[in-house]
């Protein structure tokens, strides 16, 4: 079955530290990849997405992600985190053949940034 793995369940960083959150998926065909973020008390919202072209994708608030097809990975990065990045981050995959826009979400990574 298709699945998405986020290996880091909880991450604690100090402000200005660099961030990398892992995301791996299990599907050999064409995929669309997403990172969503849920700030405390807010709606889930899109951070960035990839569906074709340059595998390095830039999103909002200084986040970026790199699609590495050979590793089935789509890791999220930010060079210097801020306290306001404290949130839960979800990786999601839409695999062709699964149906239009049907996403499989990972289990989420809770990031806490200490001031």
């Amino acid at each position: 079955a298709q699945s998405v793995s986020q290996h880091n369940h909880h991450v604690i960083l100090s402000e200005a530290a660099s961030l990398e959150l892992g995301c791996n998926y299990s599907y050999g065909g064409t995929v669309n990849l997403f990172w969503y973020v849920q700030y405390p008390g807010q709606h889930l919202q899109l951070l960035l997405k990839y569906f074709s072209g340059d595998p390095l994708v830039k999103g909002i608030k200084g986040f970026e992600a790199e699609f590495i097809k050979s590793k089935f990975s789509f890791n999220l990065r930010k060079p210097s985190v801020q306290w306001s990045d404290t949130a839960e981050y979800f990786c999601a995959v839409n695999a062709y053949g699964r149906g239009p826009n049907k996403l499989i979400f990972g289990t989420g990574t809770l990031l806490a940034v200490q001031p």
């Binding site: 369940h9 709606h43 889930l44 997405k49 839409n94 239009p100 499989i104 979400f105 989420g108």
Partner: protein, 113 residues
């Protein structure tokens, strides 16, 4: 801005009750979705709809049904609520193609006693 609203932020129901969760979007989106969000499990798709009166099962449809009589409204129904349906329920909508962003509502936290 796309707006997805859900009828209740918090609900408390008793086992065996029929529960209706309503979702409305204002952007004329074709697709609408219902997820449940549980700690450590992420978001899991219950049902989705790609057009009025059309619906498809997601990954965990058991114990749920849906209704989409109008394009902007998508209802999730728990025919007979059970304690294991205590969860956060999220509604989302999107345009029709696979690359489109899903826009989420604020969620309904349901407690079944």
């Amino acid at each position: 801005d796309v707006k997805v609203t859900q009828s209740s932020r918090y609900l408390v129901k008793r086992t065996g009750e029929k529960v209706f969760l309503e979702c409305v979007q204002d952007m004329d989106h074709e697709n609408m979705f219902w997820y449940r969000q549980d700690p450590g499990l992420g978001l899991r798709l219950i049902y989705f709809s790609y057009d009025v009166k059309m619906k498809e099962k997601g990954d965990i449809p058991e114990g749920y049904s849906v209704s989409r009589e109008k394009k902007e409204r998508f209802s999730l129904i728990l025919e007979s609520a059970s304690t294991n349906q205590t969860s956060m329920y999220l509604c989302a909508s999107s345009l029709g193609t696979a690359q489109e962003t899903q826009y989420f509502g604020p969620g309904t936290r349901l407690l079944v006693l």
